[in-house]
């Protein structure tokens, strides 16, 4: 398609990089948002995001040496310098249901936010033990949002089953569970993620009006479902329940015209400018960098998250920076030569561990990028970051040993003052 272009790809990307590095600087939060009656405390909305990193961390380069608020960032955490005073770096946490479970990565991913026992199964009775914490938050924080919660990722779901451990690999691709038996779908395409929320608000683009028959179509297919229910067994009915609740959630958004109008009203000119830039940036990425530039894809997804928080489209987001046991080739980083998963099994070889550290730091750089963006948006007396709780973590400590002890966990932001960096 773009064979034989006369620009080198690298030059192209550099050019792109320069034109897109426009942070959401000093923008003011929408007025209506400040007065939003939905927020329980009357202040700005509280938000939650979770970034999941696969394959654990270099065990010696993660934890800071000091306890308390006066501490030096560790080598891996060093990119967080600018937001250091808004961080909680938590040590010695582990998930008790990650012990004595199926060996390997997958179950320790599925239960990252459920903290429960994951069922060993290849397909029947997929079970993460419970609802994930982001979904519980969505029920409270997100109940009046246009999108109660969002789930993002950058990789396709893992296919296949692990025959040696007898589990489906889908456990390794999902941290958000709507119910113990139903994982949430991951959006991995920046264009679709962006259009879903903002397609109708981009200046200069023709809005796509909602199908006027949608409500009546959904009503009538619910009748179909009820008729179908009578013909099938109870197990099947449980499965069909997914359909019913999915339809209900789509209907809820249709019903709630008022909240959509609220949402539209609070999209400020600043935001509109940003939406326009984002729209172009996604087009450029799709044309030149798709499948090539992982960093840019990650950042686009993170920026969409920022837009979602800023515009109050959603208050709860999870983001998988890779499926568990991801074998992404990180050779695009200086000093790295090989797959993430392979390098995480470093066998204590210092050369391997050095590469492991660089890969870990890349993940933290993306996290820092998100935090700085959120921190640049003023909201009330603070920033969007102050009103949020942004969790970063992995289901393993040292990838070499798949160990679930002393997990690498950081929380940024203070949820509107509810968390303090003591």
């Amino acid at each position: 398609m773009i064979k034989g272009n006369q620009y080198s790809r690298r030059a192209m990307l550099k050019g792109l990089g320069a034109s897109i590095a426009l942070p959401f600087m000093h923008s003011l939060a929408p007025q209506s948002l400040m007065a939003n009656p939905m927020t329980s405390t009357g202040g700005a909305p509280k938000r939650f995001a979770c970034l999941f990193m696969p394959n654990g961390v270099h065990p010696d380069k993660w934890s800071p040496q000091q306890l308390g608020s006066d501490f030096q960032l560790s080598p891996i955490l060093s990119p967080l310098e600018k937001v250091q005073n808004k961080l909680l770096i938590l040590g010695n946490l582990s998930n008790k249901h990650s012990f004595r479970t199926v060996e390997g990565h997958y179950t320790k991913t599925a239960n990252f936010l459920t903290s429960m026992k994951v069922a060993r199964t290849v397909d029947s009775n997929v079970d993460a033990g419970g609802v994930s914490v982001d979904q519980i938050m969505a029920q409270h924080l997100g109940k009046n949002s246009v999108y109660p919660s969002l789930q993002y990722g950058i990789d396709k779901m893992r296919s296949g089953v692990c025959k040696s451990t007898g589990i489906t690999k889908l456990y390794g691709s999902t941290i958000s569970w709507e119910t113990n038996r139903q994982p949430c779908s991951l959006e991995i395409d920046p264009r679709m993620a962006f259009d879903r929320m903002f397609r109708n608000y981009i200046p200069g683009k023709k809005p796509m009006p909602e199908d006027p028959n949608k409500q009546s179509v959904l009503d009538i297919v619910m009748e179909d479902a009820k008729r179908l229910e009578k013909r099938i067994g109870i197990e099947d009915r449980n499965k069909l329940n997914e359909y019913l609740s999915a339809v209900r959630s789509v209907e809820k958004r249709l019903d709630n015209q008022a909240s959509l109008e609220d949402f539209e009203a609070q999209i400020t000119p600043d935001m509109k400018e940003e939406l326009k830039r984002m729209d172009i940036r996604i087009d450029e990425w799709a044309e030149y960098a798709e499948g090539v530039d992982v960093t840019e894809k990650t950042r686009i997804m993170l920026d969409i998250m920022v837009l979602a928080f800023w515009s109050d489209a959603s208050r709860v987001v999870t983001f998988m920076m890779g499926n568990s046991a991801s074998g992404r080739n990180f050779a695009f980083l200086e000093g790295v030569n090989g797959s993430h998963h392979a390098i995480s099994h470093h066998k204590y070889d210092p050369r391997q561990m050095a590469q492991y550290e660089i890969i870990n730091r890349w993940h933290i750089e993306q996290y820092a990028y998100l935090l700085e963006k959120l921190d640049a948006i003023k909201e009330g007396d603070g920033t969007v970051l102050d009103n949020s709780m942004i969790l970063f973590g992995s289901g393993l400590r040292d990838g070499m040993r798949h160990s679930p002890n002393d997990l690498p966990i950081v929380v940024a932001g203070s949820a509107g003052g509810r968390l303090t960096q003591a």
């Binding site: 060996e103 390997g104 290849v122 397909d123 029947s124 009775n125 997929v126 789930q151 990789d155 396709k156 779901m157 296919s159 296949g160 089953v161 040696s164 489906t168 889908l170 139903q182 994982p183 779908s185 991951l186 959006e187 991995i188 028959n213 179509v217 959904l218 297919v221 179909d224 008729r227 179908l228 013909r231 099938i232 067994g233 109870i234 197990e235 099947d236 449980n238 499965k239 069909l240 997914e242 999915a246 339809v247 959630s249 789509v250 074998g327 992404r328 080739n329 050779a331 090989g338 797959s339 998963h341 392979a342 390098i343 099994h345 470093h346 066998k347 070889d349 391997q352 040993r401 798949h402």
Partner: protein
């Protein structure tokens, strides 16, 4: 009060699938005999805390739970018989205990197999692949569901059509709606295709307009008259019958038509294309209906397994062979003849296997069985080391897998050729990659590659790349792949605190040192057991580099040593001898292939109660020189494919109420 009690009971079933309603005599017998022996000899290791080998033997309280892990229990019988368990150093089992232990296990398992059990058959949402093909066959529209809908995982033996892993989330639902919208819009905007589908037309004449105008003076109700409804029925009902894969009952019909009437009489009749627009919206509604999106079978509350209906069988058949809905002929046969009659069934299957749509089976089955999809979509090979691994080459590699499989399955009909043959299917791009001369053009053709290391799936670039690391080959991964995908004997997971595949961590080591390193590794007794199975297989394949190119030297200098000793002591050297050695493992390969096929056909994992069917189909392969056609016929005639077990929960509740 009563309803809430019933709800509670229903909930119990839902929440605790293992919950046994009545503790049966058999359950008690199992516990009386087995549990004291287990406590005395086994629970030092196989308890809830240590769970050696992943087993807590005391948690098997009920017979159904024993059956669900039937193969494990058969294995336990073997181990106890051969004095391998309890292990040396622990208290040996007395002969009397051994006898009763083996007796009770076999008793429970043999009983389970006495009455044929078709296993569970769950409601199944269409996979994205099936959705695309069904839309294509129903409407003619090409819709790429795979990239439009949220990505999904796989289950059972590793396929994306397994009911347990097909979820419907709010996001999927949103996309289903948008998909239906765009499919119907595409149809409407293409007059030719629309007229194909909707051959009827209607627009109110001048008199009707006048009559409606007059009526509107006296009544606020929208006008209603029968002609457009009768016409629309001709377009809506056949479409819905196909989409719903079954005959519509009265309620279905009236539901569909009253929606049309509402749309049409409430206003669309006044518009030029109102008749067609109303039909289009009804189509849209059909495409988001659960009856379209889910394949369901009627649950008959009877105790014994029962034959599924003709139409249900037709649907199972067409989704197995075409990944799509039945065509008109199959529907017709299901309506007029008895599809359970082997003569009719075989005739239909052979007809369907000759249809070009049968290549969808190869598309779907081969790439998933061999597990090559992921690595071709998101290649991990290092671009600087392997610039030749281009999009075109990868695309050709996928085609090779699919076309080769299809050729073997439907032309040669000898499934052993999947492991070993002297030909493959190539186009120019791939032939250049393989350094096979005299192939030009984009078209794939059968090429004789005798003596060139290729032939069979083990010589395919897609497989070789999928089992490599970004910067080099991995004999361990390749060995593990052969054990899992070809022979169906996956190595057990490594002991805790040992990396899954320790050799992987040596990414920085040169390929040259690998062999020495692995040999050292195998000197550790913890690792030797599995590595002496995996490593030799991988060594014999070292002539293929990480993107499937042939090589005789590492870095152009050191000669590659491809000789190895297989676990059974057999000496092999190079890919050819490896393939020959693997072709001798007829029974393992046959059983593994059968399990994969059965899982794909039933949309669920293969369990212990399926073992008679697995055996029957394996024997069919072994006795018929691995004839693919015979195997397919045996599969569709098999018990679990044509029978269904009722979901009895409801019946239990009713009995309880009484």
């Amino acid at each position: 009060m009563r309803t809430s009690l019933i709800t509670c009971i229903a909930l119990l079933f839902v929440l605790a699938p293992d919950f046994s309603f009545a503790d049966t005599k058999e359950d008690r017998k199992w516990r009386r005999i087995a549990h004291p022996i287990i406590r005395e000899y086994c629970t030092e290791c196989h308890n809830a805390v240590d769970k050696k080998a992943g087993l807590d033997l005391i948690e098997f309280y009920y017979v159904p739970s024993v059956i669900s892990r039937g193969e494990t229990w058969r294995h336990i019988v073997d181990l106890v018989k051969n004095n391998e368990m309890p292990p040396h150093g622990s208290k040996p089992m007395s002969q009397a205990d051994k006898d009763s232990f083996i007796y009770i296990i076999n008793h429970v398992l043999d009983n389970a197999l006495q009455d044929p059990d078709p296993g569970p058959s769950m409601i199944r949402r269409l996979s994205h692949r099936e959705y695309s093909y069904t839309i294509k066959d129903l409407t003619g529209v090409d819709f790429n569901a795979m990239s439009y809908f949220p990505k999904e995982g796989s289950g059972g033996e590793g396929f994306d059509n397994q009911s347990g892993v097909l979820f419907t989330t709010p996001l999927t639902m949103e996309r289903y709606y948008m998909a239906a919208d765009s499919i119907v819009r595409e149809l409407r905007n293409d007059p030719e295709r629309w007229d194909d589908l909707v051959s009827v037309d209607y627009s109110p004449g001048i008199f009707r307009h006048f009559a409606n105008w007059v009526t509107s003076w006296f009544s606020d109700d929208p006008p209603r008259w029968s002609k457009p409804v009768r016409r629309a029925e001709e377009a809506i009902l056949p479409f819905a019958t196909k989409a719903f894969r079954g005959f519509l009952d009265g309620e279905d019909r009236s539901d569909l038509m009253s929606f049309f009437e509402k749309l049409y009489f409430d206003g669309l009749w006044k518009e030029d294309d109102g008749f067609d627009d109303a039909i289009a919206t009804v189509y849209k509604r059909i495409l988001v209906s659960p009856i379209f999106l889910y394949r369901s079978e009627i649950n008959q509350p009877i105790h014994k397994p029962y034959k599924i209906s003709n139409v249900e069988l037709a649907t199972r058949l067409s989704y197995l062979l075409w990944s799509s809905m039945p065509d008109d002929t199959l529907f017709d046969v299901a309506y007029r003849e008895d599809l359970h009659n082997p003569e009719v069934l075989n005739r239909e299957v052979l007809r369907m296997m000759r249809n070009p749509k049968f290549s969808r089976f190869s598309q779907s089955f081969a790439t998933q069985w061999l597990g090559v999809e992921e690595s071709l979509n998101t290649p991990k090979a290092d671009k600087e080391l392997f610039p030749e691994f281009t999009d075109d080459v990868r695309q050709a590699m996928r085609e090779e897998v699919v076309r080769y499989f299809h050729h073997v399955f439907s032309e040669e009909k000898d499934l052993l050729e999947l492991i070993d043959s002297d030909y493959t299917l190539l186009n120019e791009d791939l032939a250049r990659h393989y350094e096979v001369p005299d192939v030009s053009g984009d078209a794939f053709r059968k090429v004789n590659v005798a003596g060139q290391g290729r032939g069979g799936v083990l010589g395919m670039g897609a497989v070789l790349a999928a089992t490599s690391l970004p910067n080099r080959t991995s004999p361990v991964l390749r060995g593990q792949w052969v054990l899992e995908q070809i022979l169906g004997t996956p190595p057990p997971p490594p002991p805790p605190d040992v990396p899954e595949l320790s050799e992987e961590g040596e990414g920085g080591h040169d390929e040259l040192d690998l062999r020495t390193l692995l040999e050292k590794h195998r000197s550790s007794p913890n690792c030797a057991g599995c590595h002496k199975k995996m490593d030799p297989i991988g060594f014999a394949m070292e002539n293929f580099d990480a993107v499937g190119k042939w090589r005789n030297y590492y870095r152009g200098e050191a000669t590659i040593n491809t000789s190895a000793i297989m676990e059974n002591g057999q000496m092999i050297d190079g890919p050819l001898e490896l393939r020959q050695a693997l072709s001798e493992e007829k029974e393992l390969f046959a059983r593994n292939f059968v399990r994969k096929m059965l899982s794909y056909a039933l949309g669920r994992g293969v369990g212990f109660t399926d073992s008679p069917t697995v055996k029957e189909l394996t024997d069919t392969l072994l006795q018929n020189d691995f004839d693919s056609e015979e195997m397919m016929l045996a599969l569709v005639n098999s018990y679990p494919f044509r029978y269904r077990r009722s979901d009895m929960t409801e019946l239990y509740i009713k009995e309880y109420r009484r």
